[in-house]
């Protein structure tokens, strides 16, 4: 029996909802999708609950209508500057007399790593295991191997309780909809854009959103760092609005239709006409001026990223390169600017094969990544234990028919 899963991204500019159907053989079909402009967010955090709820609920409703079904729980993307990541590590001596690593050794190391609690008023959102190290050497599965000491770590991200609670409330307010899991936006988008090979080679995925920029850095196939930079596409729009003295809607339109990440000498001769209203009237703006304003902000953004990552930006450890995704990555020439600032090859990410071309846009990377997690959770082969078994028995089936479960 197929299972319906949902994914919601409460973005700074848009709220997106996807409805997917996980079939018995473990494949995922996207059966509903909708997005609505969101005016209730600033820099990845909810500042107006009602407006955010309006946008999220309307997109959920439309996605459900498109799919012809209802969603009971969703995977929710979590971003915002309140999120902080840290590495939690633990170690254990191999207890066996033969010095063979057992599951209990790993459990002890894991317990030590998880021992540390977050600060008051904060809660863990996401834990990602890092490589297991046996006597200083990274291994995939050390159970049964000979050794003396096992080291194990988690990249753990915690967030502000209030900010997390606000996001959860937006979802549960939709007639008791449940949140199946919280997923970091950066992890969700990078899962879609960087395949296993790239992650093993080492890669940095930069998701340029409207309010914030999410970072996720992989080494040897494992997450080594995640972060959120409080600068996004909206800042570029704001700069254009202030610098060119145009209203934000016009600035946004200029950015999307005529913006470039770095000025081109030929732009100096080109003027862009803004068809204004009766108050401001029509006026022309030099394309070079637009590019200059954007360039300054983009350079600043990548300088912040460079400073944030510091030594992690090691070309030897990031052989997969730097990938740009998110709505901001559509800005022409941005990869060139990024490459100059970060001192490493940067390219725009492409989706892994098998995703419909209409869906495979950079703006959808995060929400598609959420469904990918949903597939991991629900698309287990038959025979394995599944916590979310479909309702059994006559009453369960009857409840399913009328949509109560």
């Amino acid at each position: 029996m197929s299972k319906i899963i949902g994914a919601v991204e409460i973005g700074t500019s848009k709220a997106k909802a996807l409805v997917g159907e996980v079939t018995e053989n473990g494949s995922l079909s996207i059966v509903g999708m909708a997005s609505r402009p969101n005016e209730g967010m600033r820099k990845g955090e909810i500042v107006d609950f009602r407006k955010a709820a309006d946008a999220v609920h309307a997109s959920l409703e439309e996605a459900e209508k498109m799919s012809g079904t209802t969603v009971d729980s969703v995977y929710l993307a979590q971003t915002g500057i309140h999120l902080r990541g840290q590495m939690l590590t633990g170690s254990a001596s191999v207890s066996s007399s033969e010095n063979r690593v057992s599951v209990s050794d790993l459990d002890r190391a894991s317990a030590e790593a998880k021992h540390r609690q977050p600060e008051s008023g904060r809660s863990y959102v996401h834990h990602i295991r890092t490589p297991i190290v046996l006597d200083g050497k990274a291994v995939d599965d050390p159970v049964g191997m000979l050794g003396k000491k096992v080291d194990l770590g988690y990249w753990s991200v915690d967030g502000d309780d209030q900010a997390i609670r606000q996001a959860l409330c937006v979802i549960t307010n939709y007639a008791g909809l449940e949140v199946a899991d919280l997923i970091l936006s950066s992890i969700a988008s990078s899962t879609m854009m960087a395949g296993p090979d790239l992650r093993r080679a080492g890669a940095l995925v930069i998701d340029l959103g409207a309010g914030v920029t999410d970072l996720s850095l992989y080494r040897q196939g494992y997450v080594a760092y995640t972060g959120v930079i409080p600068v996004g596409g909206d800042h570029v729009t704001g700069d254009l609005s202030m610098g060119l003295r145009v209203l934000e809607p016009y600035a946004e339109k200029l950015k999307i239709e005529h913006g470039k990440a770095s000025p081109d000498p030929s732009d100096a001769d080109e003027d862009i006409w803004i068809i204004g209203n009766k108050t401001i009237g029509d006026r022309s703006i030099s394309r070079k001026a637009i590019s200059d304003v954007i360039h300054v902000r983009v350079v600043e953004l990548f300088e912040i990223i460079s400073k944030e990552l510091g030594n992690l930006l090691d070309p030897d450890e990031l052989k997969g390169g730097i990938l740009l995704t998110g709505g901001g990555s559509k800005l022409p020439g941005i990869e060139v600017v990024a490459s100059k600032v970060l001192g490493m090859p940067v390219r725009k990410a492409t989706f892994t094969p098998g995703i419909d071309s209409e869906l495979a846009t950079h703006e959808n990377a995060t929400v598609l990544g959420l469904l990918h997690y949903g597939l991991e959770d629900n698309g287990r082969p038959p025979g394995q234990n599944n916590d979310d078994e479909s309702p059994s028995g006559f009453l369960g089936k009857l409840a399913g028919i009328v949509g109560i479960s």
Partner: protein, 302 residues
């Protein structure tokens, strides 16, 4: 081990504890619509369950209930009386004695078809109709056989039993007749071979030949009552009227032996009446015999 990108289950102070236990008032129209839709579905589900439960209960009740007639008349009222109508001598008292007490019984408790069959089993009754006159009256309508002859039989115990004979030949021990009325009836004398006991129950099968005799007795009783009162014993030979030699024999006080042929009793009675008015006959108080069975010729022995 799980894939390296796979999210570990939350440990320590996880976000799940922050999830609100119950949702607040809907914050958007879409949420309100969704909640109303959910409530409607739950109500529909409950209605469906209730309907199924009621259906099961109803079927169970139907299966357990008695398959007899369904009482649609409401609470039963005890029978207050019997409306009894008969064209004969039987009365309501007879019915009360025959049926037994009705006290406390309601109309619907009585099987009127069974009562009707029981009444028809009585040889004195040739028609019966039993019906309910709601709310509390039992209606009985019957028609009786009337006797034209009396058959006196001696039982093995030495007791003598009088059986009444109806025009159709039915033999019955009548009830409700006044003794004076029965004393006027002529007696019947038949060969014992013609009496055949019933296979089931008491009494005898219908007598053959009586339907042949009955018109004579009826004629005499109506038109010649003086002669009828004098008739004492009636008998007949060969019950089938078409048999050669078939005749009816009557013994009376005035004429010791009267003989009629079966049929054309009116002509024969007119001849007898005429003959009895003849001066020579009138002189004789007792006449030995008159034979009217030879058509126009009458043989009299004075």
């Amino acid at each position: 081990m799980r894939k390296n990108i796979k999210k570990e289950k939350t440990f320590g102070s996880g976000w799940k504890k922050l999830a609100p236990k119950s949702s607040r008032r809907p914050a958007s129209r879409a949420a309100l619509r969704k909640r109303l839709s959910s409530v409607a579905r739950i109500l529909f589900f409950m209605f469906l369950l209730g309907s199924m439960g009621y259906g099961v209960w109803w079927i169970d009740k139907l299966a357990r209930s008695d398959s007899g007639p369904i009482d649609l008349t409401g609470p039963a009222i005890p029978i207050s009386g019997v409306s009894f109508h008969s064209d004969g001598v039987l009365s309501e008292n007879w019915f009360d004695n025959w049926f037994g007490p009705l006290r406390g019984r309601s109309l619907m408790e009585l099987d009127i078809d069974e009562i009707q069959e029981a009444l028809l089993a009585e040889d004195q009754i040739c028609f019966a109709r039993v019906s309910r006159a709601f709310p509390d009256t039992l209606r009985i309508e019957i028609k009786e056989r009337h006797p034209i002859l009396v058959l006196r039989l001696g039982a093995k115990t030495g007791e003598v039993q009088d059986w009444l004979v109806s025009p159709d030949g039915t033999l019955y021990q009548g009830a409700g007749y006044p003794r004076s009325a029965l004393s006027l009836l002529p007696s019947l004398s038949v060969d014992s071979s013609l009496l055949r006991p019933k296979k089931e129950g008491k009494g005898y099968e219908r007598l053959e030949g009586i339907p042949t005799v009955a018109p004579l007795l009826d004629l005499v009783r109506r038109e010649y009552p003086a002669i009828y009162r004098d008739w004492q014993v009636v008998s007949y030979e060969r019950p089938n009227a078409t048999d050669p030699g078939a005749h009816v024999r009557v013994r009376s006080g005035r004429v010791r032996n009267l003989r009629f042929s079966p049929g054309k009793f009116g002509v024969q009675m007119r001849r007898l009446h005429y003959l009895l008015l003849e001066p020579d006959v009138r002189k004789s108080p007792v006449i030995e015999s008159i034979d009217l069975s030879h058509g126009r010729s009458v043989f009299a022995k004075i």
